[in-house]
Symmetry: C2
Subunit: 499 residues, 2 copies
């Protein structure tokens, strides 16, 4: 196994001419909408990670699957890279364009093909918005569980590509746990079905392999998602703590008591104050940390569990525990958490949202280390956590107009990810690797493991045309930047304009 590539195709940077590719596409696909002028390409130069921007070679906006299939065959034949994009809400630059690649926008595939309440599934096109699935299922008392913060805008195809999570994934799982089947087109234009309509499928689990593969293995053309019955009731407890360690221990003890909350979120003081100033959620502004613990299910179970969680929280040292007394208060408690990122945006000119996962038991230790790093680098860090599953979102506050602050923000970000790996965690929770964390992959995996990733990639896409330069670094990249970057945390991000 010895496959090397990055943004190279067939081992070298592709010599691709915009006019020539445009001509070829227009003659084969006369009714395909193609954008090619700089001003038309500009809106597509980044996804939700706007620090990284590249004008794509061309943007295509197909409306029929046959167009996508023909397009892929042409690109495969000509060695033109293809980057798929849904709603463009991703936070790790997974849909960042390539200057020598086509940006394939799947947003127009936005039909809900079937909602089957008896079979408890929905078949949808990839451009359907996450929340739209739940809305379509609502008349039957059903919903689609994964709920990333961007659920009003993000599309299910992107959710599959990034294996999206959300505040309820502790109980209901990530995207991969809520799928039955994904139909894809390979770069060669072959149509494949991964998974099945039943709960299990023989052979290798290609559905799980594909989910979270960040557009490197194929283009999602249809998704069959599981639907769940809406819980009868949902209640939320807000617990305040005078120190972060107690809050971290309370998380472990709730799980240890055999309770699986629907959501278990943690915020530290800086995040609490920012959210409270913005939303007036009713958070205690002087608490060192708060926990939000949601319990859902049938009335009797939820009532019993609320009492048990309250006891655990008090035992763990909570200074105050409030049960939202009505639905309005419950929604307000969550509004603070769900708006934590924009709230932090109000108190700092810029912030950098990290996404790492740590073993739950390391929570208190990692928070202490982040506080030390924050002091050392002279930058504030607000911590917002999917605490129940150890997924942290430290927000590094900086001002890009102050010379050196961006670099310090990147440096401390690298340190935090290094810390995650060092305590047995990983460099991403739910945002993916994309372009953002590709160098940190060199710290997470050794060269044998990275080589294996490439071999698996090659099984789907032997020329490396689908989303090159994301998710899996080349061994060359690791040698040049990756390992150095992470282990010293001081190198700038690599040149983004290699295309």
């Amino acid at each position: 196994m010895n496959i090397l590539y990055d943004e190279r195709v067939d081992g070298r940077l592709p010599a691709i001419d915009q006019a020539e590719v445009l001509g070829a596409l227009r003659s084969a696909l006369p009714d395909l909408e193609i954008l090619h002028r700089n001003e038309d390409l500009r809106p597509y130069e980044c996804d939700g990670l706007s620090a990284y921007r590249t004008l794509p070679l061309l943007v295509v906006l197909p409306e029929r699957l046959e167009q996508v299939q023909t397009l892929l065959k042409i690109c495969h034949q000509r060695g033109v890279p293809v980057v798929a994009r849904g709603a463009g809400t991703g936070l790790s630059g997974g849909a960042l364009p390539l200057s020598k690649g086509i940006l394939l926008v799947m947003a127009r595939f936005n039909q809900i093909l079937e909602v089957n309440p008896h079979g408890r599934y929905a078949r949808v096109q990839p451009g359907v918005r996450n929340l739209a699935i739940s809305q379509a299922a609502a008349p039957y008392g059903l919903y689609y569980a994964p709920d990333p913060s961007s659920q009003i805008a993000c599309s299910i195809g992107g959710n599959v590509a990034e294996n999206a999570g959300g505040v309820h994934c502790l109980k209901y799982g990530l995207t991969v746990h809520n799928l039955l089947k994904v139909d894809i087109l390979t770069i060669e234009g072959e149509h494949l079905s991964l998974g099945s309509d039943a709960l299990d499928s023989p052979g290798f689990d290609l559905l799980a392999l594909f989910t979270g593969s960040e557009g490197m293995l194929g283009i999602v053309t249809e998704v069959t998602v599981k639907l769940l019955a809406k819980p009868q009731v949902a209640r939320v407890l807000l617990a305040s703590f005078n120190n972060v360690e107690d809050a971290g221990r309370a998380v472990a003890e709730i799980i240890g008591a055999g309770i699986i909350p629907a959501g278990l979120e943690m915020m530290d003081n800086l995040a609490i104050r920012a959210a409270e100033d913005f939303i007036h959620a009713g958070y205690p502004a002087d608490a060192a940390a708060i926990l939000l613990c949601e319990l859902d299910g049938v009335e009797a179970d939820v009532t019993a569990d609320c009492a048990r969680v309250q006891a655990v929280l008090e035992q763990a040292g909570a200074s105050q525990v409030q049960l939202a007394c009505d639905e309005a208060q419950r929604v307000r408690f969550w509004a603070g958490r769900k708006n934590a990122f924009p709230a932090v945006g109000r108190i700092s000119p810029d912030y950098y949202c990290m996404d790492g996962t740590i073993p739950r038991r390391q929570l208190a230790r990692v928070l202490s280390a982040i506080a030390e790093l924050s002091a050392e680098y002279g930058l504030r860090v607000a911590n917002v956590f999917h605490a129940g599953d150890g997924n942290m979102h430290p927000l590094i506050l900086f001002d890009a107009n102050v010379p050196g602050e961006l670099e310090r923000a990147e440096a401390i970000g690298g340190k935090i990810l290094e810390l995650c790996v060092a305590v047995g965690g990983s460099i991403t929770g739910e945002h993916g690797v994309g372009r953002e964390k590709i160098n940190q992959m060199c710290a997470q995996f050794n060269s044998d493991e990275i080589t294996l990733f490439h071999a698996v990639k090659a099984a789907f896409d032997s020329r490396g045309l689908l989303n090159p330069g994301k998710n899996i670094p080349t061994l060359q990249r690791c040698a040049e930047f990756g390992a150095l970057h992470v282990h010293h945390g001081q190198l700038p991000f690599p040149d983004l304009e290699r295309f």
Copy 2:
């Protein structure tokens, strides 16, 4: 993508000489225990699917990982196929030896390396028995959830290879959902870690890909499993039905009510009578079907859910619903189900245990169709179901000494699997494909999909040396046997002695 192999290596049947391979292994690994005489090889000629038997070329019983690594390197170099085996309890012939391949028995790697109650995981060697993990975790109030019927004997390495389930996987998931990390050796002797100590891992999900890959991608050398808190209480309800359709509908309605039972099992009249005669579990011998529904958790939740399930069962037409009044009765209710297979063995000289999965909503329809097939082929079929997740185990009763009955049993078995695929289900639930169902894979997948499986296999094992001829059929095999076998259901199983 155009890779073809089966039991061939490098495209042809290997010319392998026992004495030569034995000599090479002995000189490189003087302290490795190797069996080579026919009488020593005999106990290893089959796994739990004893209808298929092949004497292996050699059996090796390593005790140290370096021995395994060196062995694999030698086999890779010489092009000798390797079949890994744990406890040999598999029911689909996944560990069936090859006459030109080495049987690598991992049973001596039976150490529990760590039980970490705080982190809620255990690190174990692959030969550790499933039940031994729960026993080691019991002092901390923890257990390992997946519980295949063979759990007293089966090993965790085999559980990973087959993605084993059990009666509790409806609530607690399959093996893949209960793993954090698997360490493997590739056929080239490379050591890789798949997954991580945290709940998520970046890059492609190779842990999910590997789980259930039936020994084709690598050799399991260490497994880190999740441990769960033992539920405070578990109660079981036994419901009797006068017809199978009502029982099927009750299953859908329990799930529809938002309850996830710890186990939800169904047996039809023939299975009930066999079990009752054998175990005296207290089953109603005249019922057309029974459901066993276990609820577990904390006292208050379980009490509330028992009442709800009882109401749903009565509403769905149950003629009688009994709540096990004490732990002894609960255990007796389960003993009938857990001994259903040996119980059927008492009423028929032979039986053939099938394993298919169907969408839950198709339950009643599929049972009717099986009853028709049973009448048509003149063979009794007892049905035992993990009803909650649609995993059926029809037991086809026959007498191998009556000419034609074995062939009829195989034919009806093929028809039943064809039926599973036709209703949107799959040809396996928890037993795997192995050798048994390799032809049916040709009905489940098209040639593009099978080609992709081979390409993924090649990413790990380019020469096709690990467990060839299992799980994924060659396109040649599909052309020769597979599609024909399933679609007409009358061809005998293919020659097993090609090695």
